[in-house]
Amino acid sequence: MHMSDGIVNAPTSLVFALVAVLGLAVCVARARRDLDDRTAPMAGLVAAFVFAVQMLNFPILPGVSGHLLGGALCAILVGPYVGALCVSIVLLLQALLFADGGLSALGTNTTNMALIGTFVGYGVAVALRRVATRSRGGLLLTAFVAAWVNTVVAALGFVLEYAIGGQGLALGTVFGLMSGFHALIGIGEGIITALTVGAVAAVRPDLVFLARTAAPALQLRTQGVRS
């Protein structure tokens, strides 16, 4: 779901580049507390895994394919702040080395896939945390739903940017096609995310961020004051 240069006009690209920079600055500041000797290598591997799986386009309709975006996957495994950085690094390297996604579109692509997709996907996962921590099946279901939503909202991010600074096709058509295609792509994203999270949880449940941080928020806050 990588936009090329010129899909939206220069002012729109610039605005979303600023959004992306601000968002990533917050992520860098907050990622620190989620990274230690064990989770830092894990996060690097998660980014490499997302790069690999983004190469694997799967067909959704005749002549149309889709690929993993990875925001929810990263957020569930390494947390939303580190996760957003994982997806951003993948997008940056794709644009710089592989001519995949325009350089001037890095802001919009980062906003859609790394920020919107990751944080909304993580929000869904947190909302379903009681389901996720009840059983392995609950965790897989949570991963699937979070990933499906992550794909659809990232697509809607594009529709928003197109509405602000794009031309060439009626906005209603863009909205209909984007949400329709990505409702289907989201199923693939959901399956890949559930399989991956399930595999990690089966081998190293301590390396699943969502499972590690499953304690109620109130308890965490009390503890923070105490220490």
């Binding site: 620190r32 064990r38 690097g44 591997l45 694997l56 386009n57 950085l85 080395l97 794009g166 060439g168």
Partner: protein, 137 residues
């Protein structure tokens, strides 16, 4: 607060890391040959309304993709997931991409990491510490 030495730094799960890397390398290096070559959802939308030539460039009609420019790094040796533009090198390009991503992301996260052994904040460890304060010296 940080209490150095109260918790033995657990050994890194090196075997698990290695397994993850092997899976990523196999996906990018081998499975990538089976990937669909059709445009993805967004590209299919931007091409809607245009006739395309063999290379996928819009040649007639009206569509969003007509406004797209040539990619600034189209001359990169890894452009379009091929090494030097050679056919059949998708897997090698993918392997290079996985390793570069791991180095860049892993390096950044290693530099960013705030805690040395995970003992400072909750994430499960803190809770057991609070429940058994007498063990902490």
């Amino acid at each position: 607060m940080t209490r150095p030495g109260t918790r033995r730094a657990s050994r890194l799960p090196v075997a698990f890391y290695a397994g993850c890397l092997v899976v990523a390398l196999l996906l990018a290096g081998v499975v990538s040959y089976a990937a669909s070559g059709s445009p993805d959802g967004l590209d299919a939308v931007t091409q809607t309304g245009c006739e395309l030539d063999e290379s996928g460039e819009p040649v007639g009609g009206t569509c969003i993709a007509q406004h797209a420019g040539e990619h600034a790094t189209a001359g990169s040796p890894l452009a379009d997931y091929a090494v030097g533009g050679a056919e059949g090198t998708t897997g090698l390009a993918g392997v290079i991409g996985v390793l570069v991503t791991l180095l860049v992301a892993g390096g950044l996260f290693w530099l960013l990491r705030g805690r040395r052994n995970g003992a400072e904040l909750d994430h499960g460890d803190g809770r057991s510490r609070d429940e058994t304060p007498s063990r902490v010296e």
